[in-house]
């Protein structure tokens, strides 16, 4: 019978091979193990290990940094900066984006600035930001908000504009008031787009915070990496880079999980 044949075909596909789930994990594992071995061998034999530290000394630097609390201290400062700037920037971006999406006048009025400023990279503002908001947290917060706001804003606006006209017409025909249309149709329709913008903005926030911490800060992972250069502590640098990659990966996964589990009703384009 048809179903039986489909089942056999499916089980055929689940047979163990390189493209099955297990096969892929196996290959990825082999790949990582091989790279770590090559890294270790190269840095202990061919390369100068002081500027190209072997994997083992990177791990040692990592455990020492965690044990002494230095690495975790810088890490928590960086995370705090990103979270505050990211949340404020996202809120502002969503708010302005909803306004721009809903009112043609606001959209046209702000359009020239948005389309100019989104091409100016956040880091370019660092000197004015330091002069206006001080060398402390103020300037970093400003830069991260700046890095977040435009992406979220543009996505929110796109979300509002993409709402199907028939939905608005239907609500109108049923006698919904404009605030009801906004609350029950526009806002839910834009949530998916807002979240997509926020996820991209999160990556940009990390990029910006590291730049800001390298250029003007006395704490944070960016600062740690850059000052380690002065003392030729390449193993500390590598440990911090390892932490940064894991942190970025973890936050992105966390965001994706929240996006799919909590806001599953509002997937973009539904």
């Amino acid at each position: 019978m048809g179903t039986a044949r489909v089942r056999t075909r499916l089980s055929d596909r689940n047979r163990w091979n390189w493209s099955s789930r297990l096969g892929r994990i196996f290959l990825s594992g082999i790949s990582v193990a091989a790279a770590l071995t090559v890294w270790q061998l190269l840095s202990t034999t061919v390369l100068i290990s002081i500027v190209f530290p072997p994997f083992t000394s990177t791990l040692r630097a990592l455990t020492e940094g965690i044990a002494s609390g230095e690495l975790l201290g810088h890490l928590s400062i960086t995370i705090r900066r990103v979270i505050f700037g990211f949340l404020i920037g996202s809120a502002a971006g969503a708010f302005i984006g909803l306004l721009m999406g809903s009112f043609g006048f606001v959209r046209k009025f702000l359009d020239p600035y948005i389309n100019f400023l989104r091409f100016v990279t956040p880091i370019a503002w660092i000197t004015p930001a330091v002069i206006w908001f001080g060398v402390n947290e103020g300037s970093k917060l400003f830069l991260i908000i700046y890095a977040t706001v435009f992406i979220v804003l543009l996505n929110t606006m796109a979300g509002v504009i993409h709402i199907h006209r028939d939905r608005l017409r239907m609500a109108n025909a049923f006698g919904a008031r404009s605030w009801q249309i906004f609350l029950y149709i526009t806002l839910p329709g834009a949530v998916g787009f807002i979240l997509t913008g926020m996820r991209v903005a999160l990556g940009n926030s990390f990029m910006t915070v590291i730049g800001a911490e390298i250029l003007s800060a006395s704490s944070g992972l960016g600062y740690l990496i850059y000052t380690s250069r002065v003392f030729f502590e390449a193993d500390v640098m590598f440990a911090a880079i390892l932490v940064l990659g894991l942190l970025g990966f973890a936050t992105d996964r966390l965001f994706a999980t929240v996006q799919h589990r909590v806001f599953w009703r509002y997937q973009a384009g539904r």
Binding site: F105, F109, F119, R229
Partner: protein
């Protein structure tokens, strides 16, 4: 026909074109709002700068425009923009090439994908600037460092978008090509590659934006020319109008690069852009 009557005719035609049609009126209205927007913000900025009284720290637009026109006329800002653009272009092209190659390999072969995936997914979350210190140790403060960082910025975005493009190729298209007797090579070059072009272009456009961020920071930290250097060198003399001018130049350069890229896609990549097809 006299000149005055010709002029009158032209004016009348223009009047009808702009005011007479609905679209013309809409356009006029949009233009009016743009004008109002730019004018009101400039006036507000000028007023605020003068009201605060700290003209050195928060210069009014008149001062900034004066400085900017001076820098444009003596060619220094054009030269700085040229240096930055050259760096972005070389790093961006190398990075895009590697990204497309890697993405096509990872997209078509499950084995390559499984082998390379851990690195791509780890490295794409490490901001390019985090590599600045190690790269400085390895390659010094020369041009290699800056171009390498821009290449790094570009590679992963392009790779991931290329993989997405290859995975999004409608399976029926590939099947049809196979049915018509195409071998794997032909399916790749005639179906997979053209179908993933829009994704590759999208990735490259995103990467271009990120390259600007990297180049500015790299020039601020280690360079003696370029727009980023212009910002940090003006910082010492507290020449804020010059910093503003560099920022404006960066915005204009970014905007122009984006428009140019879009125009290039429209001109040369038009046949690859997404269109509804019967096979999807």
């Amino acid at each position: 026909m006299t000149t005055s009557s010709l002029n009158r005719e032209t004016v009348e035609r223009l009047f009808v074109a702009v005011i007479g049609s609905k679209r013309g009126r809409e356009r006029l209205k949009s233009f009016g709002i743009y004008l109002l927007s730019v004018a009101s913000v400039l006036v507000l900025w000028e007023w605020a700068a003068r009201a605060f009284g700290l003209l050195i720290l928060f210069p009014p637009p008149s001062t900034v425009l004066g400085t900017l026109s001076g820098l444009v006329l003596d060619g220094s800002i054009g030269l700085a923009a040229l240096f930055s653009a050259g760096r972005i272009l070389s790093g961006f092209l190398i990075g895009s090439l590697i990204g497309v190659f890697l993405g096509l390999l990872m997209g078509t072969s499950a084995v390559v994908r499984a082998l390379a995936e851990p690195y791509v997914h780890f490295l794409r979350f490490v901001p390019p600037l985090a590599w600045f210190a190690p790269v400085l140790l390895w390659f010094g403060t020369g041009e290699t460092t800056r171009i390498l960082l821009i290449t790094y910025t570009t590679v992963f975005v392009v790779t991931l978008n290329t993989i997405a493009g290859v995975s999004a190729v409608a399976i029926n298209k590939a099947r049809m090509a196979r049915t018509l007797g195409a071998d794997h090579r032909q399916v790749f070059f005639l179906v997979t590659l053209p179908a993933s072009m829009p994704f590759i272009f999208t990735g490259m456009r995103l990467a271009m934006g990120n390259s600007f961020a990297t180049v500015v920071a790299a020039e601020m930290l280690a360079a003696d020319n370029g727009l980023g250097y212009m910002i940090t060198s003006s910082q010492l003399s507290l020449d804020i109008p010059k910093i503003f001018s560099s920022v404006i130049a960066l915005g204009v350069l970014g905007f122009a690069a984006d428009r140019l890229f879009r125009a290039l896609i429209d001109r040369f990549g038009g046949r690859y852009t997404v269109r509804q097809s019967a096979f999807e």
